[in-house]
């Protein structure tokens, strides 16, 4: 009698029956009932109320104790979880390591159900104590639980990694199972060693893991080493920037690999191709071009072209390979080969490509498409991932982020980016191009925010500089120096526009975040000085200069009223594909009653697709406003209307008598009457 019959039950009212059966005297009946419950669970019924096992926590058999702890943690009913705490506390200190390790995981489960209770009852401290446990499995589970819990509290230092803890972790590393090693290695990669000697000792103890049979262990070990390699002095033995160059044979494609493996291997082979191994690689690629899968063949042919570009000395050989392929006269092979030849840099190759194309009159339609389309030249730059993204992905080697090639917050809700920190500068080897990743990724392409209320404007400026990283779009790579321009630019804006006392306008690049935040500090002082009054209606930014009229520069803006002064706020968005520099702005002076404080100023804005704000402090007395903006492309003119509400003052409350008198004073000719139809009235606040 097999158990598969339990899958076919579908009677109603089962839960009650099952409960009775579970409490039955006879063991056999109980066993059958449990089996039914499990089958019911698989089919989708809710049987959570049937699992009560508290008194088993004190059973003499450690297996039972552990099972009880584990089952308790699976009950996700709030009322019951209060009763969990005492048994759990006992089990965390149980004499048997198996029970302790299960209890460690149970704390993580409890945190999922009720995070507050876990903190209140002090379980987090108990977990931290378990890191010092004598049994390595317990240590590994405690580390895994703490790592996951600390992901939901990103700023608190739950794990509290210090050199003593690290030592215990490294000891446990040698003794636990493969999964435990993965947990510990992943945790280590988030640790920032305080000097290079510590980094080196950690690297030494992690290196043996590289020969483990479990690939996840190896990858995690690689992650730790890659992150710490940068911190080591350059002359140490571990410095191996060119991993894998000699091992290209490992990546040769096998006939029975699944298609995604083949494509990935092809990618890797191209990146590893060099003068030394190009002959083998080309031979392999030529064989792949005779494979069955069309996509794979196309990619292989294209790969030959990329090899030609990458290893220039071998371009001749690549071309002859391509020509051989064209001889085969297979449709898609020929197409790809022609495309590749046409795109390469060498004019001789291109000519030969054209000649052979003319000889082949097989497929004139495709050939026409190929020749007439304008594709940009392939260059090796397309092989590289954008450097800031690469930095962040190194922190996530082996995890899903490296599979998707995206930072974790792109596909996980509520996650926070890991910033790769650098050693303190004391041994003085910060390279010039080594600006902190934190600010760089933070300024990566913040989308234009909805116009905030006055009080939040500060918050927005803060976001611009220090917010969490966002998705990197497909636009060309950012320059590292741009951060500083942004910081410097804002500083100068702030300095010149607002603060009456002299703040030196700095255009110099500021590599550390300190300067940017001091700029923001100035803003803070500024805010108390001018006192951004909350409240007041701010119209959303209207587009004043559309991008189509201004060759990619879009300006939108609005007027606001603060503390008796009228401000004009503008967003400059560069929608063109090129940089814009040398901005200047000028307001039409010929209008009467116009008295601006600032007429012109210049700054450097350069990034495509990014957003800059400009705040102008003006005194305006006329509704229509004409503005001229110049950048390196052209000069553009636009005008904007000042809405009336901006001209109102905040303290407009009038006495009732004064209001009535003033109303009567308005001459009758100025009165107009309208009937508002279909208006719903609410009592005004």
């Amino acid at each position: 009698m097999t158990d598969s019959k339990y899958f076919t039950t579908n009677k109603k009212g089962e839960i009650f029956e099952l409960k009775a059966e579970l409490n039955n005297e006879k063991k056999e009946k109980r066993k059958e009932a449990v089996k039914k419950v499990i089958a019911a669970m698989t089919v989708g019924k809710d049987v959570s109320l049937l699992w009560y096992n508290f008194r088993d926590c004190e059973d003499p058999n450690p297996l039972i104790r552990a099972l009880a702890v584990r089952t308790m943690g699976c009950i996700r009913v709030d009322k019951i979880t209060e009763y969990l705490c005492e048994p759990l506390r006992k089990c965390l200190k149980d004499e048997d390591p198996y029970v302790r390790k299960t209890a460690a995981v149970c704390v993580a489960k409890l945190h999922d159900i009720n995070a507050q209770m876990v903190e209140d009852q002090g379980f987090l401290d108990s977990l931290r104590d378990l890191i010092a446990d004598s049994n390595p499995m317990v240590v590994a589970n405690a580390v895994a639980a703490l790592s996951e819990i600390s992901e939901s509290h990103p700023n608190s230092n739950l794990l509290d990694l210090n050199p003593q803890n690290i030592n215990k972790l490294l000891t446990a590393l040698n003794e636990c199972t493969e999964w435990g090693q993965i947990f510990i290695l992943d945790c280590l990669s988030n640790y920032n060693p305080k000097d290079d000697r510590e980094a080196q000792s950690i690297c030494e103890r992690v290196t043996p893991r590289l020969s483990h049979a479990n690939s996840a262990v190896v990858l995690s070990a690689v992650k730790v080493l890659m992150k710490f390699l940068e911190l080591l002095p350059k002359d140490s033995d571990y410095y191996k920037p060119e991993i894998l160059k000699q091992e290209i044979k490992v990546f040769f494609v096998k006939y029975n690999d699944p298609i995604y493996v083949k494509l990935e291997k092809l990618d890797i082979m191209i990146r590893l191709a060099s003068q030394a191994n190009i002959a083998q690689v080309l031979a392999e690629l030529k064989e792949y071009a005779t494979e069955v899968d069309v996509d794979f063949v196309r990619k292989a042919v294209r790969a030959i072209g990329r090899c030609a570009i990458k290893v220039e000395q071998s371009a001749e050989r690549c071309v002859s390979t391509l020509l051989d392929l064209i001889q085969t006269k297979v449709n898609y092979v020929v197409q790809e080969a022609i495309v590749v030849i046409r795109d390469s840099d060498n004019p001789d190759l291109r000519d030969r490509g054209y000649i052979y194309w003319r000889l082949l009159s097989t497929d004139p339609v495709t050939a026409k498409e190929v020749v007439l389309s304008e594709k940009p030249l392939i260059s090796e730059e397309t092989d590289l991932i954008e450097p800031t993204l690469l930095d962040e992905l190194i922190c996530h080697i082996g995890s899903l982020a490296s599979v998707y090639h995206k930072p974790p917050n792109a596909f996980v809700e509520g996650s926070h980016g890991i910033h790769r920190k650098h050693l303190p500068i004391h041994h003085g080897s910060t390279d010039a191009g080594d600006s902190p990743v934190g600010t760089t990724t933070a300024t990566t392409l913040e989308q234009p925010q909805v116009i905030p209320s006055q009080g939040d404007l500060l918050g927005d400026l803060l976001n611009l500089d220090l917010g969490p990283p966002v998705n990197v779009p497909q636009v060309s790579s950012m320059q590292m120096g741009a951060v500083d321009l942004l910081g410097g630019g804002l500083d100068s804006l702030v300095g010149q526009s607002f603060i009456p006392s002299s703040v030196p306008a700095t255009f110099a690049p500021s590599p550390t975040p300190a300067v940017v935040s001091s700029g923001l500090n100035d803003l803070f002082e500024l805010s108390t000085g001018i006192g951004m009054a909350p409240g007041g209606y701010v119209a959303p930014k209207a587009v004043w200069l559309p991008a189509v009229k201004a060759k990619g520069l879009e300006i939108s803006g609005t007027f606001t009223h603060r503390q008796g002064h009228i401000y004009m706020e503008m967003n400059f968005t560069n929608k063109a594909l090129q940089h814009m520099t040398d901005f200047a702005i000028q307001f039409n002076k010929n209008r009467p009653f116009y008295n601006p404080d600032r007429l012109t100023y210049t700054t450097q804005f350069s990034l495509p697709n990014t957003l800059y704000r400009a705040l102008h402090y003006l005194k305006i007395l006329v509704p229509l406003f004409e503005v001229a903006v110049k950048n390196n492309i052209d000069v553009f003119y636009f005008s904007c209307l000042i809405p009336l509400n901006v001209l109102f003052v905040e303290d407009g409350k009038m006495e009732r008598q004064v209001f009535l008198a003033t109303w009567k004073d308005i001459p009758n000719e100025n009165e107009l009457q309208f009937q508002i139809k279909e208006c719903h009235l609410n009592a005004g606040e």
């Binding site: 097999t2 158990d3 598969s4 339990y6 899958f7 066993k31 089996k35 089958a39 669970m41 698989t42 003499p60 058999n61 450690p62 297996l63 039972i64 584990r70 996700r76 390591p97 198996y98 390790k101 993580a108 489960k109 999922d112 049994n135 499995m137 317990v138 589970n141 895994a144 639980a145 992901e151 636990c176 199972t177 493969e178 999964w179 993965i182 947990f183 049979a213 479990n214 690939s215 996840a216 990858l219 995690s220 044979k249 040769f252 096998k254 006939y255 699944p258 995604y260 064989e287 996530h396 082996g398 995890s399 899903l400 982020a401 490296s402 599979v403 596909f411 996980v412 809700e413 996650s415």
Partner: protein, 224 residues
């Protein structure tokens, strides 16, 4: 960590379903079936992302094993775990097929409880597991306290595949040398010959590095 584990047959019917985390709903089961098993185009990747949930799958004959998560989990670990799960199941009941899975579903749930606690992979050594997850049910009343703690110390110990305190009269080590050769031939002759390095029989421990000497007589000599 792993949020859920599902096993489907070739039609897409779910045979085993175990959800460890709240953020994985019942619709995850269906989402995988619709988007991967019954997908019209050929599936291009073992990792699929549907509605911010990531699905890792492995196919053995006509059985699909899928792991689900919403977090940024260590992808290599998930795949290694899925392969390990297949090995453990095969060690218990032979070939992985729909019939075998249905007949042993209780055992599979017990195994999942033990080796994937709350989504964290735990000790998955077949030898150790067989001592306390047996197919006939736990005969716990008759075990003495020493035997029980022996089991737990094996499961949590440094050497998971061996009981502590075992001593043999003769200390011998048997090594199985498994070599495989990949050969690609075409009408013109041998194109490609690759010899794989031999591994130890126990697959999840550090491989001993050794050197093979082929003497003049053609006899293998091995030195570690």
């Amino acid at each position: 960590m792993i949020g859920g584990l599902f096993i489907y047959n070739h039609k897409g019917e779910v045979l085993i379903s175990r959800v460890y985390r709240d953020d994985i709903g019942r619709n995850a089961v269906d989402a995988f079936r619709v988007n991967v098993i019954h997908a019209r185009q050929q599936v291009r990747s073992p990792v699929t992302n549907i509605a911010r949930t990531s699905f890792f799958h492995v196919k053995r004959s006509n059985i699909w094993l899928a792991a689900v998560t919403k977090q940024n989990v260590n992808a290599a670990m998930v795949f290694e775990f899925l392969y390990k799960m297949c090995d453990v199941m095969a060690a218990y009941f032979g070939k992985i097929s729909e019939e075998n899975i249905k007949n042993n579903f209780v055992l599979i749930y017990e195994l999942l409880d033990e080796i994937l606690d709350f989504g964290y992979p735990q000790n998955s050594e077949t030898g150790a597991l067989k001592t306390f997850i047996t197919q006939q049910g736990i005969k716990s009343q008759h075990q003495t306290k020493e035997e029980q703690s022996q089991i737990t110390s094996q499961v949590t110990g440094q050497i998971g595949w061996r009981w502590e305190g075992i001593k043999y009269r003769r200390n011998e080590l048997f090594l199985d040398v498994l070599e495989s050769v990949n050969l690609l031939m075409s009408p013109q002759g041998v194109r490609y010959l690759k010899v794989f390095e031999p591994k130890l029989n126990y697959s999840d421990h550090d491989v001993i590095k050794w050197v093979r000497y082929i003497g003049r007589s053609g006899i293998y000599e091995t030195r570690c």
